[in-house]
C-alpha cells in the first residue's frame, strides 16, 4: 500500500508550535508511506492540487492529512481524493490544530504529539476499507409537532413548497401562546390580528392535514422513513358533522365549572367549549372531567340542541399511523410557576413572593389576557382579586430566570421586551397610574427593541429600578414590594395594587418524554438540543428531525418564525430528492459466527437489528442470527462493543483499525 502524508501549516496556526517539516520528514520514513510533504494551506486550491497530483504521480492508494479537525475539512480532502480516484474512506485526518498546536505551548512536545497523531492515522488508513455511500428512499411528507406560531409557519412553508404536511397540536385549537397575547413588541400590533389569517390558511391548505387535540405517541424508523403514531384524543364531537354553531356551548348548564386555561385561569368555561372565538378548527371539545353526562349519565343538553347530531359521548381515542420523511418539532414553552410544587423539585418556587397565594401577583401571560381586548376584562386593566383598576403597578423581571437558587441559570430573553410592552400598555390605558419595573439588566438586542424600551421610559414615564425584589407581602389590600435601587444605593418599598412577574420560559411539561419518543437529545431543563449552536441551529442531532421556536431555547416571535422557515427549508431540502445518500458508517454482522444472543438487538437505539433465521437442508430453522438493516443503522457501534463473540464490525471504525491506532501509540 502506498500512503501519502500531507502536513498543513494552516498559515501559522499549526506551524507555530508544531515543526511541520519535521513531522513530514519523520513520517516519510514509516513503512508504507510513499510520499510526505508539508504545505502552508492544504485546504487551499494549490494545496488540494498538490494532493491530487501526488496521488496521480506517485500512485498513492490512501492519504493522511495532518490539518485541522476532521469536523472542518474532512469533506474537502475526501473530495480532493475522490477527484484523483481514491475512495473517500481511504482518507484519514490527523487533528494537528485543535488537538495539538492550539492547546500546547511547548514546540518539542507538540511536535512529538503531532508525529504520534499522524502515525496513528497512518496505521488506521492502512486498514481502512473502501466504502460506498448507502442510498435509502425518502417519504415525501413532513410531520410538524406543535401548532403555535412556529409550527404554523413551518407547516405553511413546507406545504407551499409542495410537500404534504401533518400538523399535530395537543390543544383543541392551533395558535399557541401567540393567540393569547394582546399586542406584540416592538410595533404594538394586535397579536391575534396577525396570527389568525395564518391559522385559517393552515386550515384551508390542501396539503396540510391538521390534527388538533392529538399527540405524537411513537416515532419509529429513521431519516426519510419515519413512521409516526399519533393519538387523536376523543373530542366527543363528530368533526365531520359539527358546524361550529356554538349552540352546545351556550346551552351547556355547567356554565362556570372549569377554569379557562386559555384565559390563564382568570375566567371560567363550561364543559363543552372552544378555547377562544377564533379557534381553528372551530369545533368544540367536551371536557369529560366536568361534563354532567360523564358524572351521572344525565343532562345531554348538548345532544338536544345540536341539530346536526354531532355530539358523540361514546367517541374513543383513536390511533393514526403516518409515514413521514422529516419531522419538525415546534412544541414551544410554558411559564415558570412560582408556586412550590412538591412533585418537581427541579424548580423551587418563590416563597418570598408568597408561593402564588396572592391573587394580585400574576404572571406575564395573565397580564396579556387582562390587557387583551378579547380577554376576561375586555381589555380594561383590572386586578383579579377585586376588579379594581390598579393605580400602582409593579413589574418584576427575571423571576425564575437567571436564578440558580430556583433551578434556572439561563436568561429567558423575551421578558425585558414584553415587560416594557406591558408597562406601556398599562400606561396607555391607565393614564394616572404609576408603573415600576424592577430589572437586573435590560437586554433589548433587536431591531427597534432598544428604542422601544426608551420609549417606555421617556414617553410613557415608566420607572425602571435596577435591583431584584426581595419580598412581596400583602398589607391592607396593597402589596408591599421590597427592593433596592442598586444604582442609587437606596432601599425602596412600593405599595402596589398589582404585581406582574416576568416568570421564566421553561420547556413544555412533557418535553423530555417527547424527546425520548422522537429520539433527540435535550438539555438539563428539557429544551431540545440543536446539532451545532452556530452552524446547525435548527437541526437536531438526529438526522431528519428539525427544531423550530421556543422548544429549543427561549425565543421571541420573529425568531420563532425565522427558525420555523429555516427548519421548513431544511426539511424540503431533504425531501427534494427521491433517495437519500448516507454515510456508509454502519455495522455488519458476521452471520457464521453470530451466536444469536441478541444483546445487540437489545442495545440498538434505533431498532436496526432484526432476527434472521438460518435453516438447514430440510428447511428447519437451526439457528437465529442478528441481521442489521443498513438503512436504519446509524453507526453508533454500541452493538459492536456489546457483542461477546465480536461478530459485529462497524465499517469505517472497525476493531482492526482501532487496534492499529492503539498499537501506534
Amino acid at each position: 500500500m502506498k500512503i501519502g502524508v500531507f502536513i498543513c501549516h494552516c498559515g501559522e496556526n499549526i506551524s507555530r508550535t508544531v515543526d511541520c517539516p519535521r513531522v513530514a520528514r519523520v513520517c516519510e520514513s514509516y513503512p508504507g508511506v510513499e510520499y510526505a510533504i508539508d504545505y502552508k494551506y492544504m485546504c487551499s486550491d494549490p494545496g488540494q492540487n498538490m494532493i491530487r497530483d501526488a496521488i496521480r504521480e506517485k500512485g498513492l492508494d490512501a492519504i493522511v492529512v495532518g490539518s485541522c479537525s476532521p469536523h472542518m475539512h474532512e469533506r474537502t480532502f475526501r473530495n480532493a481524493a475522490v477527484s484523483a480516484g481514491i475512495n473517500p474512506f481511504l482518507v484519514e485526518i490527523a487533528n494537528l490544530r485543535e488537538h495539538c498546536s492550539w492547546v500546547h505551548d511547548d514546540v518539542e512536545a507538540a511536535t512529538q504529539k503531532a508525529i504520534e497523531l499522524v502515525r496513528m492515522a497512518i496505521e488506521k488508513v492502512k486498514r481502512d476499507k473502501p466504502l460506498s455511500k448507502i442510498n435509502v428512499p425518502v417519504t415525501k411528507r413532513v410531520l410538524v409537532i406543535g401548532g403555535g406560531i412556529a409550527g404554523i409557519q413551518a407547516a405553511l412553508d413546507t406545504a407551499n413548497a409542495g410537500y404534504e404536511v401533518v400538523l399535530v397540536e395537543k390543544e383543541p385549537s392551533i395558535g399557541g401562546h401567540m393567540s393569547q397575547l394582546s399586542e406584540t413588541f416592538p410595533t404594538l400590533d394586535c397579536s391575534q390580528c396577525i396570527l389568525t389569517p395564518r391559522m385559517v390558511e393552515v386550515y384551508q391548505h390542501p396539503k396540510i392535514k391538521l390534527l388538533t387535540y392529538s399527540e405524537v405517541v411513537k416515532i419509529e424508523g429513521f431519516i426519510g422513513n419515519f413512521k409516526a403514531t399519533i393519538k387523536k384524543k376523543a373530542r366527543h364531537i363528530n368533526e365531520e358533522l359539527c358546524s361550529g354553531c356554538g349552540l352546545c356551548i351556550t346551552k351547556c348548564p355547567t356554565k362556570k365549572k372549569a377554569y379557562n386555561s386559555f384565559e390563564e385561569d382568570l375566567a371560567f368555561r363550561p364543559a363543552v367549549y372552544i378555547p377562544f372565538p377564533q379557534a381553528v378548527p372551530n369545533i368544540p371539545v367536551i371536557d369529560e372531567s366536568v361534563c354532567m353526562y360523564y358524572k351521572n349519565g344525565k343532562c345531554g343538553m348538548c345532544v338536544k340542541v345540536c341539530d346536526r347530531g354531532a355530539i358523540d359521548f361514546d367517541q374513543k381515542d383513536t390511533m393514526l399511523v403516518a409515514d413521514i420523511g422529516a419531522i419538525i418539532v415546534a412544541t414551544g414553552f410554558k411559564l415558570y410557576n412560582i408556586d412550590k410544587k412538591a412533585a418537581d423539585s427541579k424548580y423551587k418556587g418563590y416563597g418570598e413572593y408568597g408561593y402564588g397565594k396572592y391573587r394580585d401577583v400574576i404572571d406575564g401571560l395573565q397580564f396579556e389576557r387582562i390587557a387583551s381586548a378579547s380577554g376576561p376584562t375586555a381589555g380594561e386593566i383590572k386586578r383579579p382579586s377585586d376588579g379594581k383598576v390598579p393605580k400602582k403597578i409593579v413589574f418584576i423581571q427575571c423571576v425564575g430566570s437567571r436564578d440558580d437558587s430556583k433551578g434556572i441559570s439561563y436568561c429567558s430573553k423575551i421578558c425585558c421586551m414584553y415587560t416594557a410592552k406591558h408597562a406601556m400598555l398599562y400606561k396607555h390605558k391607565v393614564h394616572d397610574g404609576e408603573a415600576y419595573i424592577f430589572y437586573m439588566d435590560i437586554r433589548a438586542g433587536g431591531k427597534m427593541y432598544e428604542e422601544f424600551v426608551r420609549r417606555a421610559i421617556e414617553e410613557d414615564d415608566v420607572k425602571y429600578i435596577r435591583g431584584r425584589v426581595s419580598r412581596i407581602y400583602e398589607e391592607n389590600g396593597k402589596y408591599i414590594v421590597k427592593g433596592e435601587d442598586t444604582i442609587a444605593g437606596m432601599p425602596v418599598e412600593i405599595d402596589a395594587d398589582l404585581v406582574v412577574l416576568a416568570t421564566a420560559m421553561i420547556p413544555q411539561e412533557n418535553s423530555a418524554a417527547l424527546a425520548r419518543t422522537i429520539g433527540i437529545p435535550y438539555d438539563k431543563y428539557g429544551f431540545f438540543n440543536e446539532a451545532h449552536p452556530k452552524l446547525r441551529p435548527v437541526e437536531s442531532t438526529t438526522a431528519g428531525v428539525f427544531l423550530a421556536g421556543a422548544c429549543q431555547s427561549p425565543r421571541d416571535i420573529p425568531e420563532s418564525v425565522a427558525m420555523a422557515s429555516a427548519a421548513a427549508c431544511k426539511a424540503t431540502i431533504l425531501l427534494s430528492s427521491d433517495t437519500l445518500e448516507r454515510e456508509p458508517v454502519v455495522a455488519k454482522v458476521n452471520e457464521d459466527l453470530c451466536a444469536g444472543c441478541f444483546y445487540c438487538k437489545k442495545v440498538c437505539p434505533f431498532g436496526a437489528i432484526e432476527v434472521k433465521d438460518v435453516k438447514d437442508m430440510n428447511g428447519i430453522v437451526y439457528k437465529e442470527v442478528a441481521y442489521i438493516n443498513q438503512g436504519v443503522c446509524q453507526g453508533c457501534g454500541t452493538c459492536t462493543a456489546t457483542c461477546l463473540s465480536k461478530s459485529i464490525e462497524l465499517a469505517g471504525f472497525n476493531n482492526e483499525e482501532i487496534f492499529a491506532e492503539i498499537a501506534a501509540l
Partner: protein, 299 residues
C-alpha cells in the same frame, strides 16, 4: 429493623447559655412540658457555649471549634440526636457540622484545635422538630384545656429555618410547623407577614436602637393581623420582643404591650400548668391566661 416512624422519647439536650440565665423560664417550661409528654432529656455533660454570633462574626475557626466541641461531646455520650432549644445555638451547631462534613480542610483544622477526631454525626434538632417528633397527637391527648382565647402570631425568627439547604427543615419563607404545634393547644394562629423577619438578634445590647425598631415592626404586624400573643422559640427573640418593649415605650410613646410567650409555655398552659410553674411571671410583660367565660346564650 425498627421502623422510621417509631417515636423517639429520649433526646440529648443542649440547653445553651441563655437557658441558665435570661431565658431560665424557657428551660423550666421545656423540661416540664417534656416530662408531661412522657419524653426525657439526657443533658450533654460539661457542655460549653456554641460560640454564638460573637464567635462566627470574628473568627470562623474559633466558631467551628466551639460548636463542634459540643457535637463531639454528644457523640462521646453515645447520643444519636440532640435538641438545641435556642434557635441560635441550633443554627450554629447544625451549620458547623454541615461545614465540617463539606470541607475537609476546615474539618482538619477544627480537629486540630480540639485535639480530637470528629467521629459521628449527631442529628441536631430544633424545638419545633422535637415536638413534631414527639407528635402533635401527644399534646392533644394530654391537653387539659384548650387555649381558645388565644390568637397567636407564630414567630420563627431568622435562624430556625435558615439556611434551608443546611437545616432541611420546613420552608424558609413560608414555614408552617410552629402553627401546627400551636394549633394543637387549641389556640388559633394568625397569618402574618413578619414571621421570618429578623428582630436584630445579637445587637440587643450594643445597638439597642436597631433592635427596638425592628422588634416594634414585628409586634405591630402581629397586632395588625389580629394576634393577642406572640409565640417564640428562641431566647434572643424573646429578649428582644419582650424585654425591649420597655425601651419601645420610650422611643414610641403610646406603645401598647403585647405579651410574648415561649412555645413551650403555651404548650405548658394547655397541659394544665399555671403561669408561675412555667416561669411566665419572669417575663417583662406580665401575662395571665384567662379561660373564656362560658357562653350562656347557647342553650
Amino acid at each position: 429493623m425498627t421502623s422510621m416512624e417509631e417515636v423517639i422519647m429520649k433526646y440529648g439536650y443542649y440547653p445553651g447559655c441563655s437557658q441558665t440565665g435570661s431565658a431560665k423560664e424557657y428551660d423550666i417550661s421545656l423540661r416540664k412540658v417534656i416530662e408531661k409528654l412522657g419524653a426525657s432529656f439526657d443533658e450533654i455533660n460539661d457542655w460549653s457555649c456554641c460560640g454564638a454570633t460573637s464567635a462566627h462574626v470574628t473568627n470562623h475557626k474559633l466558631s467551628s471549634a466551639l460548636a463542634m466541641r459540643n457535637i463531639m461531646l454528644a457523640g462521646q455520650q453515645g447520643l444519636e440526636n440532640m435538641v438545641a432549644p435556642c434557635a441560635a445555638c441550633y443554627n450554629r451547631l447544625v451549620t458547623s457540622q454541615y461545614e465540617i462534613s463539606k470541607h475537609p480542610e476546615l474539618r482538619e483544622e477544627t480537629e486540630e484545635l480540639l485535639s480530637a477526631k470528629f467521629q459521628k454525626e449527631i442529628n441536631v434538632i430544633n424545638i419545633l422538630e422535637l415536638f413534631l417528633k414527639i407528635g402533635i397527637n401527644k399534646i392533644i391527648e394530654n391537653r387539659k384545656r384548650e387555649l381558645s382565647e388565644l390568637k397567636v402570631a407564630c414567630y420563627y425568627g431568622c435562624l430556625l429555618v435558615r439556611p434551608a439547604a443546611i437545616t432541611k427543615f420546613d420552608d424558609a419563607e413560608q414555614p408552617v410547623s410552629m402553627e401546627k404545634i400551636v394549633e394543637s393547644t387549641g389556640a388559633k394562629t394568625v397569618d402574618w407577614n413578619y414571621k421570618v423577619e429578623c428582630c436584630g438578634a445579637a445587637h440587643s445590647i450594643a445597638r439597642r436602637d436597631i433592635v427596638v425598631d425592628l422588634s416594634k415592626k414585628i409586634l405591630e404586624d402581629a397586632r395588625s393581623h389580629g394576634a393577642n400573643v406572640i409565640a417564640v422559640a428562641c431566647p434572643m427573640c424573646h429578649t428582644n420582643l419582650d424585654m425591649r418593649q420597655r425601651a419601645m415605650k420610650r422611643t414610641y410613646p403610646g406603645h401598647e404591650e403585647l405579651p410574648v410567650l415561649y412555645l413551650t409555655e403555651l404548650i405548658g398552659l394547655a397541659l394544665g400548668m399555671n403561669e408561675h410553674e412555667l416561669g411566665i411571671d419572669l417575663h417583662y410583660i406580665n401575662y395571665k391566661y384567662t379561660d373564656p367565660v362560658p357562653d350562656n346564650t347557647v342553650a
